[in-house]
Symmetry: C2
Subunit: 424 residues, 2 copies
């Protein structure tokens, strides 16, 4: 026994600016597949596969796989990982893979496992695995700052999951695809970096979203570009970066959002010349100040150096109490202080609201607050569901039509289901 | 509005190795008292006063008062604070002062407040205050990794507390005293540093405890000293450092523990020549891996450079489930990775148990595990309560007698109370 202990062997290798890429070269694919076939298997849920996607493309670089316990504990307690060169990288969400008792038993003492997708297809391998306890209560409490029932990611991905976590080095046989007509938008961090280079961007500002783009968002993005130009940047590029993984059932689905975003660009609300639209493959945690760090960190990996942060990022209403789950200002405060994000320039959001005098979305002016109308996401959905039009200038007409059609189709579907129930 | 935000003004000044000392010089005491009298007042609970004690003597240095929101958020999310010189200091527990709505109202826009002790006496001032929301659920979840009912510190100090936190720079009029006959043991970090210098210690190893010292603890401490000598240190000094603030009702009270510790030194189980006994004034959180960082950090401030960490430090049973609240190994793992504790040498505890063959406490030998008897704190208390003797060699006889007397006095007290109830 050595007299003192310090973290040594478990320190993560820094990526040195070159992103982790865990897709095996084509030349090795067959032999790796053969090897994986022979190993004990772990079955991935849809959300697990989203994480495999995220890790394999380097969004979480320098992380090279699902977290082992030392990484998990650092993420949970410090929201960051130390690397071998002494630097600190931000890592606010535990990126972990849960298995149940039976799977653990089947793995036995095998040092490697094969990974099966939700359809049973072979996805990849996890090497030099480590299995450790999945204390769900502690994970939830430290990640969300709440253990209230009704947290969407918890109910979907943690409560039903196994009591063990398995960490290890990931290798995937092929890039993860969804074959939903949107794979072309799923640009990897490296592809985004290449595209920014190709366009000779001298500043990249990222906008994370999981909602349709209204003119208040657009105002903010266009205003940011103007300010960056005033600061002397010649060619600031916007990364419009909708989240593509798990979202809660009442959020607008990805395909509808992508169509809506296309209309916003077609209608000229955002300039296609200076905008890149890509899908961010991560699932959504709705973990507020903890998650916003992940959202920013992943975009740094994709080449962004400015990050726009609004009121209550990644937040939601408290699932059992009549209040926001998080203080709406904590997201930007925590982001501005987060270890490993020192180089990111954080652009605070000025609140935009509907100016009933000017009849457009504008930055809120507290001196004439009664002229402004705040249209929440819930309010917006109510308009679209009831077929009522929002005030002129809230959203471009093409984009609005996409939402109306979506909610109409939902109602038709519901009616058909009710009909089916009645006729059985 | 500046385009980007970063933490600037709120960064804490590093102490540069010189401890924060917030006791006002005697020459200024009268004028400060006069000023404090004129200010809105905040009444401190017993535990609040323990924190005033802790902060004022520099145990939490470079922290200069109760946390403002920026410090609170860093502590809650990152277990550490950034300082103006770019260094990181460990700060795992939020050191905060709660006030209720009425007190907030009374303070109004006053920039400073006076602090009153539990008996109404003037304790000091808090300057340049900031009042912010006390989200108890989030504080508890992120600090304990659980929101289960029955967490002792939560029930005592958070649930009944107000919905606001007040941060600011602390000034205390006089050193905090308790007049319980034990103040001489309440050595400040600076007094301890001076004492280590006086004894020409070239290594100081700290042992945090909130329980009586049995021969297993003593074995560990003596073994540590031996190893430090083998490493080439000439004069390693043990800081035997019982926690003196709030503990849960079924823990052995401080005065009994101090008497027990004295007997252990008298009986020669520990060597008084190479041991310093002091009281650590902090209240106990029972927050496991989060709290052990605080326990270590405070001892660094007092001059320790080696820290002994055992199984499940600062842990307890889960309040509502039949398991430990924390993984017993997480404490030392988290400690070994904690930001701001890089310079501390962590001494992992080898588990000691009662060797029934050798009839003494010894390091557990897994090759003959059936020879060993594990005597938990609960088991020890049961022995003492029932008057049964523990196995020979478990604890020195003088120390054991202190415990037996304590539990006898408890039973006498209980009997008297029952008698009183019956006769009314």
């Amino acid at each position: 026994m050595s007299l003192t202990i310090k973290l040594h062997s478990s320190l993560i290798e820094p990526d040195g600016g070159a992103l982790v890429d865990l897709v095996v070269p084509e030349s090795e694919r067959d032999s790796k597949a053969l090897e994986a076939e022979s190993l004990p298997k772990v079955s991935l849920t849809k959300i697990d596969l989203e994480w495999v996607h995220v890790i394999s493309e380097g969004w979480a670089s320098p992380l090279r796989g699902f977290m082992r316990e030392d990484q998990y504990l650092q993420s949970l307690h410090f929201n960051s990982l130390k690397t071998k060169d002494g630097s600190v990288v931000n890592m606010s969400l535990p990126i972990v893979l849960a298995i149940d008792d039976d799977t653990k038993e089947r793995i036995g003492s095998s040092p490697n496992v094969g990974l099966l997708g939700p359809n049973g297809d072979l996805i990849g391998l996890l090497r030099s695995i480590e299995i450790y306890k999945h204390n769900k209560e502690e994970r939830i409490a430290r990640t969300w700052g709440s253990t209230a029932p009704g947290l969407p990611y918890v109910e979907e991905a943690i409560t039903p999951a196994g009591n063990w976590l398995i960490g290890g080095d990931l290798e995937v046989l092929e890039r993860i695809k969804y074959n939903d007509g949107l794979d072309n938008y799923r640009l990897s961090p490296q592809q985004l970096r290449n595209e920014f280079d190709r366009r000779q961007a001298d500043a990249v500002f990222a906008f994370q979203l999981r909602n349709p783009v209204h003119n208040g968002h657009a105002l903010l993005m266009n205003d940011t570009r103007k300010r960056l130009l005033e600061m002397g940047y010649k060619n600031p590029i916007l990364l419009l970066h909708p989240l593509g993984g798990f979202t809660k059932p009442d959020d607008v689905p990805l395909d509808v959002r992508m169509e809506q975003h296309s209309k916003v660009l077609e209608d000229g609300v955002l300039d296609p010349e200076t905008t890149i639209v890509g899908i961010f493959p991560s699932p959504m945690h709705y973990a507020g100040p903890t998650e916003v760090q992940w959202h920013a960190k992943a975009r740094i990996n994709a080449g962004a150096n400015f990050y726009i942060v609004g009121r209550d990022p990644a937040g939601m209403g408290h699932p059992t109490e009549k209040r926001d789950l998080y203080d709406p200002d904590h997201g930007k405060k925590v982001l501005s202080m987060a270890p490993g994000l020192e180089k990111l320039n954080i652009l605070p959001f000025r609140v935009a609201a509907y100016d009933t005098v000017e009849k457009k979305m504008a930055f809120f002016d507290p001196s004439r607050s009664k002229d402004f109308l705040f249209i929440s996401g819930t309010k917006m959905r109510t308009y679209a569901k009831t077929g009522e039009n929002p005030p002129d200038g809230f959203m471009c007409p093409g984009g609005w039509k996409v939402l109306v059609n979506y909610y109409e189709s939902l109602q038709t579907e519901e009616a058909a289901q009710q009909q089916a129930v009645l006729s059985t």
